[in-house]
């Protein structure tokens, strides 16, 4: 037996496994697809139902409430640009995709991150998984995702969530580790229940680092929208892809700038809401 025979070929067993899943668990995957499309569709409908200017004004008001008139101007300006560039529908689709993806990422990453901060073993187990999630190019796990969920927003959302979880999880763990010991002692000595210590002491003290995690999660998720366009999720990613395939500078650049506008909007609003009104 020569060394050449020892070729590693994981695809040889992954492909049949995916095939098997597809045949046997099809109803489950179909249900996931329906749930994702329903969620995204609902958000899109809510944002596309009223006239664009109404949504822009609402975003402005939200910005004003979270961070004063500068935030209001930024929020209204970002959405106004998307509307002005003639990309309103695509922008709303992207916005919905990113918001849902980030929400799912946080929902998964936050509890795991807290757990990892408390149990070193959980963290040791999670670390290699996170490393793989962050380093394997998304295109690679997109193949089985598309095979299972077919083209559309669902595989895009899954790819985005997988990409968004690691930064949020790592920074959640870091944030909770950084809470000084004496504050935990204060909680215990005051007779606080573990839940009270988590919400009233740890979370507020972890907030600045959590904000960084959320920020990373949002920006990395947005970076995935182009990929989402490639697998038929629509939105600004589709516009960029179109610009690329036709070698047209104008539409591509416009869509790219709209992505930047959406990124600014989400980043600043989320940061303002996490910073809270005080300190």
């Amino acid at each position: 037996m020569s060394l050449g025979d020892l070729a590693v070929s994981p695809g040889a067993w992954v492909a049949p496994a995916v095939e098997w899943l597809n045949v046997n668990l099809h109803p489950a995957f179909a249900a996931v697809t329906r749930a994702v499309e329903g969620l995204l569709g609902g958000m899109e409908a809510a944002l596309l139902g009223p006239p664009a200017w109404g949504v822009i004004v609402a975003a402005g008001l939200l910005g004003w409430w979270l961070g004063g008139w500068r935030m209001a101007a930024l929020a209204a300006g970002a959405l106004g640009f998307c509307r002005g560039a003639g990309l309103w529908e695509a922008s709303v689709e992207t916005l919905a995709l990113v918001v849902v993806a980030v929400a799912l990422s946080v929902l998964i990453a936050f509890p795991l991150g807290v757990l990892a901060a408390r149990r070193p073993r959980v963290e040791a187990g999670l670390r290699p998984v996170l490393d793989v999630m962050q380093t394997v190019p998304p295109w690679v796990y997109l193949i089985p995702a598309v095979m299972i969920f077919s083209l559309g927003p669902t595989p895009a959302l899954i790819a985005t969530v997988v990409y968004g979880i690691p930064p949020m999880l790592r920074l959640t763990t870091l944030a909770f580790r950084q809470v000084p010991r004496e504050f935990l002692e204060l909680g215990e000595a005051s007779g606080a229940a573990p839940r009270t210590i988590l919400w009233r002491i740890e979370l507020p003290l972890a907030r600045p680092t959590l904000a960084v995690g959320l920020n990373q999660c949002i920006l990395l998720s947005l970076a995935m929208v182009v990929l989402a366009g490639l697998v038929g999720a629509g939105g600004l990613g589709a516009e960029v892809t179109r610009g690329l395939t036709r070698m047209e500078m104008g539409p591509g650049l416009r869509a790219g700038l709209a992505i930047v506008a959406i990124a600014l909007l989400l980043d600043r609003l989320s940061r303002a809401s996490l910073d809270g009104r005080r300190g």
């Binding site: 005051s190 007779g191 606080a192 009270t196 005080r278």
Partner: protein, 361 residues
């Protein structure tokens, strides 16, 4: 009845041990069987003995100081008293309840209602106002917002910080922050307050001021306190009784006067060497028995000496002897002369030794 209540034991530690490390159980058994020393335990089991066979009683209304250098186990000891640290063996009873028997909510109730704690680092939540910080203990207990803020406001008033209620902790000086920590502990109205080196990080002038305030406030409110410090002067200033710790062992427990006059060993003696006796040692510790003194000095009429009470300190006695020009001062208790203080006795008191025998008077 009142004497009974005054001496009632609130915290009772009976031969409490704390050994840190994975082999703590085996280490503890080896200590019991073979009498290993702290260093041997570290070498053989890689366990650290934090507290070794500590027995203390804290009485109602008393300020009990635990004095020791860093690494002496005093911070571990105080955390055993509210079970922030589980003892390896021994029994700790607080207000008649065995702490080790309390589970979950019962332990939390005990901490919330009966045992307050103040930390060296203060641990004020930076995103909350001073008032909200002071109300934290009540918030944990589920007291309604309006009510807990009202109580917290009263507690802040007690420590003289009413005007700062709406500020954030970072706007306050270190001394003020520590007052907020005290107010937070007082707001829940616990009977026992654990003070973990609360004033160590403050500059000397502020520290002294807070020591006096703390002592008078505790006495005024009728609280009991366990006060940890590495500063013997502080322990003497604040404590009714003092325990001295070294390497996890409680070397001596007593009043400041007892410790200064009769140090248990060389270690304690070294510690008390630099302490001024002027306000520490009282007439009853340096006086001669009156009948014996009258025999030794028949020419002096004891009845004609200036008089004082047994609790008069050396500083006051020196003033009396110098001012009167007499041979000594008669100590009167309950209308009867119970002793005589002479200049020789005072000089010995200043050095911290008990009066010499009368042959050399």
């Amino acid at each position: 009845m009142s004497a009974m209540a005054a001496s009632e034991v609130l915290i009772d530690c009976q031969s409490v041990w704390k050994v840190f490390g994975d082999n703590a159980r085996a280490a503890l058994r080896a200590i019991a069987d073979r009498g290993l020393s702290k260093t041997e335990v570290l070498q053989e089991f890689s366990c650290v003995v934090g507290v070794s066979d500590a027995s203390i009683q804290v009485r109602r209304g008393e300020i009990f100081c635990v004095m020791g250098l860093s690494g002496s186990g005093k911070s571990t000891l105080i955390r055993l008293l509210n079970r922030l640290i589980e003892p390896s063996s021994g029994r700790i009873t607080v207000k008649g309840q065995d702490l080790s028997g309390l589970r979950g909510q019962a332990l939390r109730d005990m901490r919330a209602k009966h045992i307050g704690m103040v930390f060296q680092s203060v641990a004020l939540l930076p995103h909350r106002t001073v008032l909200e910080n002071a109300a934290f203990g009540l918030e944990v207990q589920g007291v309604a917002r309006a009510r807990r803020l009202e109580v917290a406001r009263e507690a802040l008033a007690r420590v003289g910080l009413s005007d700062w209620a709406g500020r954030l902790p970072r706007e306050l000086s270190g001394g003020m922050q520590q007052r907020v920590g005290l107010a937070r502990a007082l707001a829940a109205d616990p009977e026992i307050i654990l003070m973990d080196e609360p004033f160590s990080a403050l500059d000397p002038l502020i520290r002294r001021q807070l020591q006096d305030e703390f002592r008078s406030l505790t006495k005024e409110l009728g609280k009991s306190a366990v006060f940890i410090t590495h500063d013997l002067d502080e322990a003497i200033r604040i404590g009714d009784r003092i325990a001295i710790m070294r390497d996890g062992v409680i070397v001596q427990v007593g009043t400041a006067e007892e410790i200064v006059l009769n140090p248990a060993d060389g270690y304690v003696a070294d510690f008390v060497a630099g302490i001024s006796r002027l306000h520490l040692i009282k007439a009853h510790s340096v006086m001669y028995e009156p009948a014996a003194w009258a025999r030794a000095r028949p020419e002096v009429d004891v009845g004609a000496l200036p008089r004082t009470h047994p609790e008069a300190d050396i500083d006051a006695l020196i003033g009396m002897v110098v001012g009167s020009g007499q041979e000594g001062v008669a100590v009167v208790d309950g209308g009867r002369i119970v002793g005589v203080v002479t200049p020789r006795g005072l000089l010995q008191g200043v050095r911290g030794t008990a009066p010499a025998d009368l042959s050399v008077v």
